[in-house]
Amino acid sequence: MVSSILPLTLTDVAVRRRGKTLLGPVDLSLEATGLTIIIGPNGSGKTTLLRAMHGVERLSTGAVRWSVPDEQAQHRQAYVFQTPIMLRRSVADNLRYPLQLLRLPRAEIGARVADWLARIGLEERASLQATRLSGGEKQRLAIARALIRRPDVLFLDEPCANLDGASTRAIEALLQAALDEKTRIIMTTHDLGQARRLASDAIFMLHGVVHEAGSAARFFGAPCTEELEAFFRGDIIA
């Protein structure tokens, strides 16, 4: 086994667009195991933080460092977008695509695709066009497509937005299975129940900066800042 790409260190990371600060400055360090939940109101910089960690956001200042060179780190992380992006291909071809990019042997690709189709319960829809799936099915497919490369780190941007209870449970089961296989997960959510169920540690974003962070038990049990307490109460934070 190759050494982990974690810990991840962000130093003085800021993202500014057209004179407006979307994120930062953020200093943050993420350890090698667990599931980090990022919560916060809309526009607080959750998505921007996630994208900055993944390296798809241009940083105005600061640096994002993994324990291995960037080139290697990029290949060992995956990202699931808020609205799942479906390739205009069949369900099976959507799963096959990231593996084809790696030029894996055909037999290996076939085996992994079949395995993942079973895990997300879409075996019977394998040849259906992916854009015709329901919202929950699309999100499951997007997560499977991210995990099929066996990434060390998985980023998810509100994977359960607009989904019902059953779909949410199916997705949480997928994430739990990934955690059991030692995948590091970092995700944003608006669902505080979900945050409590899944988190091993949590980050509260407000106005583009990390307002409070800590292990799940401390974070949810005894919030240190007034704003986080208010957020948990359901108050609207300006």
Partner: protein, 234 residues
């Protein structure tokens, strides 16, 4: 009205009796335009896609230039190719003037900007949709182009068919560089021009109807083969 009726009638007879001249002219039309289409598509489809995904300094200028070239007057293209290929021209030694090859060259120049421009429009939308995913998956530039071309193939088909339509109906350029030589470079459009000049409207109309039928036939055949408009939205 009479002329049209006569034209239809004689077109019918020419087709039913498989008139040897008509067959030869039609096949040459198809050969020239389809070859030009294949070559132009091979250039324009990757080029249009590249323009959609690559950011470079003179990108906007290139795109507006391409759009302007869509309206390139065929006679002028014909004239330029003629000068290049004529005995005294820079490529005169190749002896290509008044051959089907010269006609193909002229048509490639005419339809490449058209196909590239339509490709660019279609690919721009698809790229906006795929952008984040393909960046996240660490795709190389070439992998991105291939993915977009494959997943946008039905849009590209439309682009190619537009190019074919322009090529098969084009007369100005191929008349100049081909010369409308019987049994050598005569195609449907140049034959129509000739017959109209001679006053043989029935034959000209017959050729015209065959040309239209050919264009429709090719379009329908390709759409049918590629199963567009059958599965879902694309």
């Amino acid at each position: 009205m009479n002329d049209i009726y006569d034209g239809l009638l004689s077109a019918f007879w020419l087709v039913v009796t498989l008139d040897a001249d008509l067959l030869e002219i039609s096949l040459r039309s198809l050969q020239v335009s389809l070859t030009a289409l294949v070559i132009a598509s091979a250039i324009a489809l990757p080029l249009g896609t590249l323009l959609a995904i690559r950011r470079f300094r003179y990108r906007r200028l290139t795109i507006s230039l391409l759009n302007a070239l869509m309206g390139l007057p065929p006679v002028v293209v014909g004239l330029l190719v003629y000068i290049l290929l004529s005995r005294s021209g820079p490529l005169g030694v190749l002896g290509l003037l008044f051959t089907p090859t010269a006609m193909i060259i002229a048509q490639v120049i005419i339809i490449t900007p058209l196909i590239a421009s339509i490709t660019h429009q279609a690919m721009r939308e698809l790229w906006a949709e795929y952008h984040d995913l393909l960046i996240s998956l660490n795709t190389s530039g070439w992998q991105r182009i291939r993915t977009l071309i494959w997943d946008g193939r039905r849009n590209l088909l439309t682009a190619s068919l537009a190019g074919f339509g322009r090529a098969i109906g084009e007369v100005g350029a191929i008349m100049i560089v081909g010369g409308n030589i019987d049994n050598a470079t005569r195609v449907l459009t140049t034959a129509i021009a000739l017959e109209t000049g001679k006053g043989d409207f029935a034959l000209a109309l017959a050729l015209g109807f065959v040309l239209i039928a050919l264009a429709i036939g090719i379009n329908v055949a390709i759409h049918w083969l590629s199963r567009t408009e059958r599965e879902g939205r694309w």
